[in-house]
Symmetry: D2
Subunit: 227 residues, 4 copies
Amino acid sequence: MSETKKSAGVAPAFAGRHEPRPLPFDPSKLRGLSERLIRSHWENNYCGAVKALNVVEQRLAAMLDDPVLPPYVYGDLKREELLRTGSVGLHELYFANLGGDGEADDAIHRVLSRAFGTFSTWEAEFRRTANALAGGSGWAVLALGPEGDLHNYWAWDHTSGAPGSRPLLVLDMYEHAYHLDYGAAAARYVDAFMQNVDWEEVSRRLADATASVGTRYETWDQTSTPG
Amino acid sequence: MSETKKSAGVAPAFAGRHEPRPLPFDPSKLRGLSERLIRSHWENNYCGAVKALNVVEQRLAAMLDDPVLPPYVYGDLKREELLRTGSVGLHELYFANLGGDGEADDAIHRVLSRAFGTFSTWEAEFRRTANALAGGSGWAVLALGPEGDLHNYWAWDHTSGAPGSRPLLVLDMYEHAYHLDYGAAAARYVDAFMQNVDWEEVSRRLADATASVGTRYETWDQTSTPG
Amino acid sequence: MSETKKSAGVAPAFAGRHEPRPLPFDPSKLRGLSERLIRSHWENNYCGAVKALNVVEQRLAAMLDDPVLPPYVYGDLKREELLRTGSVGLHELYFANLGGDGEADDAIHRVLSRAFGTFSTWEAEFRRTANALAGGSGWAVLALGPEGDLHNYWAWDHTSGAPGSRPLLVLDMYEHAYHLDYGAAAARYVDAFMQNVDWEEVSRRLADATASVGTRYETWDQTSTPG
Amino acid sequence: MSETKKSAGVAPAFAGRHEPRPLPFDPSKLRGLSERLIRSHWENNYCGAVKALNVVEQRLAAMLDDPVLPPYVYGDLKREELLRTGSVGLHELYFANLGGDGEADDAIHRVLSRAFGTFSTWEAEFRRTANALAGGSGWAVLALGPEGDLHNYWAWDHTSGAPGSRPLLVLDMYEHAYHLDYGAAAARYVDAFMQNVDWEEVSRRLADATASVGTRYETWDQTSTPG
């Protein structure tokens, strides 16, 4: 089959072949987050999103063949694609930054102090951003922007994100992330989350992201460090 | 001043010192997009967003010092921060991918054919995603995801984006991007935009993004290329 | 004090004096919805929204006095006002349409059959709209529009609604409405909700709303009823 | 044909038979808003929304027959239904409250003074809410809430609205409402809009809405009027 004859249906963009990743930690071992909660979250919300994304990609391919389809109807499904892509990606980042001891090392402390003034300012802002989403839905995300800048982002749902930014630490504030264990006490869930952060994973992400941001970040890094 | 005493107000995350970037092309030379439109877009919408982002970052720092502030009020300004961050970043990407001749080279054709089946399937989907936003607001974005996957994303406003994805080609569908020239005829604006795409910039972004995605992308690249 | 000297702070629009309404039924008596869930929902989510709305209204009054405040910062708090207004109003409608036996009378059957083809078509669409929001947040709302038309509306969050429409039956699909009892099994929660609908309240709302829609509704009512 | 056999396709909720209403004023006679702008707005944005709503209602009926359709795909089209319903309804309210001389009578002054402290406080807040949406999309809406309360609401797009509220004065802040005449100078468009408000229409809506709110409003009306 020639390159140009491949139908959209089997092209990677529309293949719908995403597979869930297993939990990267033992869900019975987290502090303050029950195995029941984590398993339900992984199975229903994360795996559900993977399944839905596959369905959506394949439906998009079928819709592309319909020449009279109004663009806005296509757009409705493109919104669902973005929503599910965000849900899959953010859940993978979330589970992968859990399972640690909650202790950030010196290098992380230095980087976050440089960006936010002090480490505790960073932590206060990250928690406040998370708590701002209590009772609703969304994510709090520490991310490295394309200029090497670090920010905590407020994300209202799975479709939200800063363009070109690289998520380093991701906290799910959808109620399915905590209600089974904490009911409406979202701030106590945030406490529990912080005690289970795998900061080594965050460091790995920061190293990857910094490498890709490149020279600009290094420059910024030096000029903004007073003696 | 000790590291920990630096106030949030002068920390980079709250510094509010973003500067607008000049237009990277001569705005009198685009085909089908008037100098008046481009200058208004750059000055009012883009520079306005830079200014607003600076204000918001500094207000966040001031708010952080208020211990009784309800988190949701802080969250309201965090939303504005994300909105302005998205507007600044996407506008910079948009202007930087204009000013070209609209002709994608063979390498781009190959990459997009591989991901979408054919180049024209890619283009049809990109245009349909853009046209789905006609009469409202948003962006159509071709982006490389963290797994090396390529997708056209539908973004409803400046806050939308797929987590960890790298924008390669960005098309502004806010009405301020075309009404002065085309009124409600959004599809004609999309035609004009496509004739001015700077595909060399897209290639540079793809090279940068691919480098950072690394091995996984290369692997995918090979396995999904039938002989 | 003269009319024009009254400060915005004590004017009704900015007074911040909303009071929670008590539950209009015995929360230990619902079928399939636990007292613990209902009490947490009422106290934390509904009463929390009332409290927040009061804070927001008073903050708006204070902000109005600041002549250099950028409009978009004011807008951020106006969004929170709409969000909380929606949450308060929808929760009041929700609790008030619970506590019944789930049996719609003949008049309701006739009205919904006329609008949707059959009562079961209405119910299927209402449930599907609700289930579309599973795992996230939002509301399913049966409402009478300003032309006397009946529709089930999909609402993504508390800010969503059709202009001028009158909600008749309101179903909360935020995860706080069911996770404590059903975890991720949203469809089972929808089943439970339907068994507790107070259709007499729905009839009262319909009568009120129809009266206000007036002649146009009556006309439509007759012309669209085939013999 | 029996009541229960009517297919969803011809039921009013899915009929897709909305017809555009003509402009209720002479578009060549507004002050500061060009005939070209108004005609484009009416024809492209409003009539386009009517057409789209008809398509969406009919597609919903067809989708209802598909028993294996995932609810979230149905929900995507329900979102489009709400979006188009909002666009149709708000545009009708907008055009119908234009064409006047911009002078509110004494009764309106009294009502708004009572609710906001002074008429000029009301106007300042309405304008600020509108200007908060400059450069993006949305609506500023003065509405009577179900308790007889008056508020200016900030609406981000056509899907936004306070539950059960009755819009009295509606200002379109989508860029298609002003860019042809004012470019990015949104505040000047708001000035022009205010000079063309048909306050008699607003009074009629207030009378209708007050009648339907009924006794609660009268009570509030009296107790909140200081001597």
